[in-house]
Amino acid sequence: MGLEVRGLTKRYGGVTVLSGVDLVVNDGEIHALLGANGAGKSTLIKCVSGAVTPDAGTIRVGDRQVRSHSPRSARAAGVAVIYQDFSVAASLDVTENVFLGQELRRGPFVRRREQRRLTRQWLARLGADLDPDAGVSLLSGAGLQLVEIMKALVSEPRVLILDEPTAALTAEEATTLADQCRRLRDTGLAIVYVTHRLGEVFELADRVTVLRGGAVTLTAPVADTTPAQLVDTIAGRAVSTLTAEAAAGAGPPVLEVQGLVSAGIGPIDLEARAGEVVGVYGLLGSGRTELLETVLGAQPRTGGDVRIDGRSVRYRRPAEAVADGVALVPSDRLRKGVFLTLPGADNVLLPTYRRLSHLRLLRRRAAEGTSFTALARQLALHPLTGTIPGRSYSGGNQQKLVVGRWLSTRCRVLLLDEPTQGVDVGARSDLYAALRAVAAAGSAVVVTSSEPDELRQLADRVVVLTRGRVAAELPGAEATEGRLLELSHVGEGDLQGEGD
């Protein structure tokens, strides 16, 4: 038995976050752990990794019961956790990073050669083609992920926990990671794989456990479940997977981008009409963030033309774009989106305060309250209050705050960069509904995403972006995973061909 958790319970000040959770992960098994934001996944992982002390329940690793709860004792018992953000030292090479803080030593001297030998051995075992002497600053997301995994392997764990390992990876890198996970499983390691992406569950996992409201609602072999069943179990209700109706009455073009060139991207042509949701399918590094930030003026443009309502514009700062009704919901929510310590109401109303104020000078609390409540209802904000700080909302609801910011300003063009990254299924459909409503009100909406499913549900048209260029364009209904992957790879091949 790799990991056996029995009756795990955790309360915070009278609120039960985990109640009697059982989780059994066998040696040589990949066990997917699913659940909406706030279902208790993180708390469960923190209990197992010793970061949080449970109130009741037992945790066994192998044949040993973990008695004291600290990260140190958990590691000693054989638990290794890989979090989604990489913690590598950029100035060191791969080997040095793998052994950072746990160097092999003879007396005071580091056994560099031995470290390099072991690293090479693990790389071979993982089937990875990586130079142990390479500096990590040049590594891709997958390379960094690999370094993190090897770092965890140094302590020879029995249980490896991966927390949303593919969140920052491209599809191709995710495939490589999946392969490495399988290899690790075959060495007898018990793997807990936390994810929001159902595709990975069916591709990779042997068994799956779904948490909801702090309790296990489903544990089953993956072969016995269907994606639809999992979605419903995660959400706890039947989620309508609406398909975007082709916007019959798409109006005149609102946003026209012609031959846009900026650092690393272009030339790009893109058009979005009033009442239309345009999807941009692109993986990390495809130039999707650069495209949106260049339109907004947050990044300098070196060539091409951008028109809003037929008028040529060149924004030097986002503030100028916003004054014109062009706004961006950035992908990096924590760093660029949410004000973590400001109340929810401030988070939504900041760009609107002046319009709501008396003579643009004195705030009017009543108007602010009405405005916030209306927006919060529209977005199904949860909890429905504006007084708690931004950090107290779940990831999905933080994203609603950021989106709500622009609903209150009646923008002409709403740009969204990966708006549902790390957002659970329920909050996703709330966001989709809100975005469709924005389009229906006559604005143009441009959404980037690396998830085909999302675009099929949301977009009228999908533009495939690869290496900073538009590789193809197709109607939203045809945006299946296979088709998009195919198109983005065809595009890549073409471009490489041109370059040769």
Binding site: T53, Q84, K336, D346, L350, R391, G395
Partner: protein
């Protein structure tokens, strides 16, 4: 102690409580040691002594909530006071014009700081240390001997009373109220916090991330100019070499003790006011006990170090309070809110 502090909803109220307890203890001690401490006359002395610093501190506090700091405050107070005294004494300017001149010179120095820090992105600490030296040196080049005798108007501003309180106290109160109104009743007040908390997000939200800190520098400079005028009025003159020397550190101590975060984004003027009262009482009490000025300097230094400790403590408390607030949000919402991606390995609870 940490554990008890955790009960508070936010870091500000926790630091305020620490300060209030310390203030009460100080008052009890000084009352016991000196029979002159708890008299109306002495309270008026405290108000008069600390009004100048209070006026200079308000702008600095708001500026620091938005992010940067102004360490040229003391030189600005000295320069504005001395130049104003020169105009009044040597050139016989009318009082009103001279006061406007002092505020204007302060605002101009603030505009220089603001241009370099807020518009050109220079480092605020280094830039304002530079202007501190520059302004003091330039002042002494203009005039290196004291100026005295400013006339009746300034005598009233400097030593007059209105409704039993020093005129200077009323002016400080007015400045505090103006700062409070700005922070709480205007949209710009919210921008100050937003920019201090997350400049990137504020930039993308179309908030004035450059203009607002620039204007706050100008306002801080103008406030220092007003303080320079008040100080010159109180001393009935100015000596360019040491007028306002070290004011920036006293203001910084009050701002940090008052719960404003060095990193910006957190703080309230009520906390800063409380810190000013505390520092005023401390200094006054030590003077009454006839303690040597060097001991006073040691105490000032200690107060600044304690302020840094309080800043660190508040930051730590915010982390812990966050945990509690999440639990509260769960009760109302039956969800577990944001999982902190930035701090994966939260330390075990002690």
């Amino acid at each position: 102690m940490l554990r008890h502090l955790q009960r508070f909803r936010n870091a500000e109220s926790a630091t305020s409580l620490v300060l209030t307890v310390a203030l009460v203890a100080l008052c009890v001690y000084f009352t016991a040691r000196s029979d002159r401490f708890l008299t109306v006359g002495n309270l008026q002395v405290i108000v008069a002594n600390y009004s100048v610093i209070a006026v200079a501190t308000v702008g600095m506090a708001i500026l620091m909530i938005s992010g940067p700091v102004d360490l040229s405050l003391g030189s600005t107070v000295g320069a504005t006071g001395t130049l104003m005294a020169l105009m009044v004494h040597d050139h016989h300017w009318p009082a009103a014009l001279a006061i406007l001149f002092a505020v204007g010179v302060g605002a101009a120095i603030g505009a220089v700081n603001g241009s370099l820090v807020a518009l050109a992105d220079f480092n605020p600490v280094i830039v304002t240390l530079g202007t501190q030296l520059f302004v003091r040196g330039a002042l002494e080049l203009i005039r290196d001997t004291p100026v005295f005798e400013l006339g009746p108007t300034f005598r009233t501003i400097g030593a007059g009373r209105w409704l039993g309180l020093p005129v200077q106290g009323w002016i400080a109160a007015a400045v505090f109220v103006a700062g409070g109104v700005f922070l709480t009743l205007t949209p710009w007040g919210r921008y100050v916090y937003a920019i201090g908390i997350n400049r990137q997000a504020a930039y993308l939200s179309a908030l004035p991330v450059r203009l607002l800190p620039f204007l706050l520098y100008v306002a801080t400079g103008a406030g220092a100019g007003l303080a320079g005028m008040l100080l010159a009025a109180r001393l009935n003159g100015a000596s360019p070499g040491d007028q306002g020397l070290g004011f920036e550190l006293q203001a910084l101590t009050a701002v940090l003790l008052g719960g404003v975060a060095w990193a910006g984004g957190r703080g309230r003027l009520t906390g800063v006011l409380l810190a000013l009262v505390f520092l005023g009482v401390l200094e006054n009490g030590l003077t009454l006990l006839n303690v040597s000025p060097f001991v006073q300097m040691v105490v000032r230094g200690l107060a600044l170090v304690v302020a840094a400790g309080l800043d660190a403590l508040s930051t730590r408390l915010t982390g812990r309070v966050r945990f509690r607030q999440r639990a509260v949000a769960q009760t109302t919402a039956a969800i577990e809110p944001a999982e902190p991606r930035d701090t994966p390995a939260e330390p075990a609870q002690v």
